[in-house]
């Protein structure tokens, strides 16, 4: 079958959908999509974000944090013990030159990072500090550090229980370790949990990995360049369609190459802004600590800051959610645990470094308005902290913060947002498709169905309002974590065995270095 034939039917379907959707007045369409969307997903969001009885703490936030704390203790603070070793692995110190040409640790890390470093780092952090104040940063960093242990656990299992097919390709991720790992330990329900995970992963791919990204990219492009969201949505969904359906790898490859440089550039510009205001650095950290442990006037007080910090950290670095295990499982290594070590760098880079940069820039440029006398935050009518620029929600706040120092920054940020969004979408389309084919079986038609749905959701995400999208995105991602972390609890003794065996052989010199 030719490529054109294969693409013709779904392409026509998508074109018809977009032709119908495109010309309609953007506003009314956005509202309609939004109300349908909110109405159809509200119940799911409500379950996931239900508060613990008698408190105003969503149970799911506790779930993630308790998991991360537990893994941290169980593996004896592995994120600090193995940090140096992880860097040595990424540098290739322990890579056998004979394996050159296989996926390196660096490549797996870079690819997994390009899926996680995205709008969570730019928009999510802005949302966190604009609701939870500077103090949310502290809890976000703490969640990032703890999340390293969750990531370590899931990525080790991802490699250990992946499927290797005869043609040499691999498939891995939570659905495989839930099924095979549970069976190996003689535990029931592994297959059921694998399917549950897959369902949530498909939803997460459509939500956080797609709609949230499209939404933020479109609203940034609208606010900076004045292009209506439906046009950006249309453009994005066509490009994504071309890449994932048409197999135009070159676009994806270019993005994969550009995104890491954008990430580095983002950190450098942030550092520049921070050091230009060097006299405020101590004050900013003071604000972060003060807000973390005292009531700074935000809705919900300290608990509000904790929830925002933890929630945005989880959304940004995806630790405990299981997604990264899918990307990392492609590495061919004799030691699954090495991939776990490497992956623990991800929450560190993503949250502890990049997210903190965004937060510091927002705080240092004075975006969060405080009452001069009491030092408490001034809230707007929505219960969020009023910002110096008047911007509300995600990217606009970050954009205003950067724009306050460099006039060109909002334009550069628009490009970064667009590319981050795009690369995250490409990565998540793969995660979603792997889960989809896990449930429905491999095959062109089945893959095509998912890919077309995915592209339609790009458009829906772009024209919806932020709140409905953000809630659904979070809910779907966190639902993945519910299943995944249960699995991790049951399978962590296997990881511990691997860890002890590996550390023993590392010490005895059986695992050798190939470089100084």
């Amino acid at each position: 079958m030719t490529v054109t034939k294969r693409m013709a039917a779904p392409a026509a379907g998508l074109a018809a959908f977009l032709a119908l959707a495109g010309p309609v007045a953007a506003q009314s369409l956005g509202e309609r999509v939004d109300s349908i969307f909110a109405a159809s997903t509200g119940w799911f969001v409500n379950i996931i974000f239900a508060n613990l009885p008698g408190t105003n703490i969503p149970w799911i936030v506790g779930w993630l944090v308790i998991g991360a704390v537990f893994f941290t203790l169980y593996f004896g603070f592995i994120q600090f013990r193995a940090f140096g070793h992880a860097i040595a692995l990424v540098r290739g110190v322990y890579s056998n030159p004979k394996d050159a040409g296989e996926v390196s640790h660096f490549q797996a890390l870079a690819t997994a990072l390009s899926g996680t470093v995205g709008l969570g780092n730019i928009a999510g952090v802005a949302v966190a500090v604009s609701i939870g104040g500077a103090g949310a940063t502290f809890w976000m960093i703490l969640a990032g550090l703890l999340g390293m242990a969750s990531k370590f656990t899931e990525c080790t299992l991802g490699v250990k229980y992946r499927n290797e097919y005869e043609d040499g390709t691999v498939s891995g991720g939570p659905m495989y370790y839930l099924k095979k790992g549970f069976a190996e330990r003689g535990l029931p329900l592994g297959g059921f949990m694998a399917v549950m995970f897959s369902i949530f992963c498909v939803l997460g791919a459509l939500g956080g990995g797609n709609m949230f990204q499209a939404n933020q990219a479109a609203s940034q492009v609208q606010s900076v360049l004045g292009i209506p969201t439906w046009i950006t949505g249309l453009v994005l969904s066509v490009i994504v369609f071309v890449v994932i359906v048409g197999g135009i790898k070159s676009i994806a490859r270019v993005t994969e190459k550009v995104v890491p440089f954008m990430g580095v550039g983002y950190v450098l510009v942030s550092l520049l802004i921070i050091f230009m205001n060097a006299d405020l650095i101590l004050w900013a950290f003071g604000e972060i600590f003060r807000g973390a442990f005292t009531d700074s006037g935000i809705v919900g007080g300290i608990v509000g800051a904790i929830i925002q910090g933890f929630r945005r950290a989880a959304f940004s670095n995806e630790a405990g959610i299981g997604s990264a295990a899918i990307a990392h499982s492609a590495v061919r290594t004799k030691e699954p645990i090495t991939e776990g070590f490497v992956s623990l760098l991800e929450p560190f880079i993503d949250t502890v470094v990049i997210c903190t940069m965004t937060a510091l820039v927002i705080i240092i440029t004075g975006q969060l308005l405080q009452d001069a006398e009491t030092g408490r935050y001034i809230l707007n009518e929505a219960g969020r902290i009023a910002t110096a620029s008047g911007a509300t929600g995600g990217v606009p706040i970050t954009s205003a913060a950067f724009g306050a120092v460099f006039g060109w920054a909002p334009y550069a940020l628009s490009l970064a947002v667009f590319l981050f969004a795009f690369s995250t979408m490409i990565t998540w389309s793969y995660y979603g498709m792997k889960s989809w084919t896990y449930m429905f079986g491999e095959g062109r038609k089945k893959e095509m169905t998912f890919k077309v749905i995915f592209c339609v959701f790009v458009f829906i995400g772009a024209v919806s309002s932020l709140d409905a999208v953000i809630d659904f995105s979070d809910a779907a991602l966190f639902a993945m974590a519910v299943v995944n972390i249960i699995g991790l609890y049951f399978l962590m003794p296997i990881v511990k065995r691997e860890l002890e065996s590996y550390l023993g052989r590392l010490q005895s010199g059986e695992i050798r270095r190939y470089q100084a």
């Binding site: 050159a100 040409g101 660096f106 490549q107 690819t111 390709t169 490409i426 793969y430 995660y431």
Partner: protein, 144 residues
Amino acid sequence: MPNVLVVGYDDSSAGQRALDFAAERARQTGATLVVAHVLEWSPYSFLTVEELAERHKRREAELTRAQQAIVEPVLGKLHKAGLEARGELRYGHIADTLIAIAVEVGASEIVIGRTGESGITARVFGSVAGTLAQAAPVPCTIVP
């Protein structure tokens, strides 16, 4: 001690010139030829998730192709000409890998062809010939 020559070979005209030169040299001195073909590869390049999953399969295919289309035909010709020769097929940075092979096999000389790259690319990234000339642990012949 048997004399070993490492010749960097690919299916370009430069590779062919290097091979001809090295074969002639081997005939004169009775040296063994190691025909090295290096597939350019950096562990620090960026891949998409799909490429990660397919990498092993691709690698196998690339190795098989290079072995069958490049290394084996050359070895066949050399053997026919009565020369002692074997192949080395590796992934890596071309100059570094040639050096590594030379060290491993105890070569007395490395022979490569000059690709004639000058200009900006060679200045920024360096050329194989330039790197070898500076870093090779054994004498290095660059065939024009």
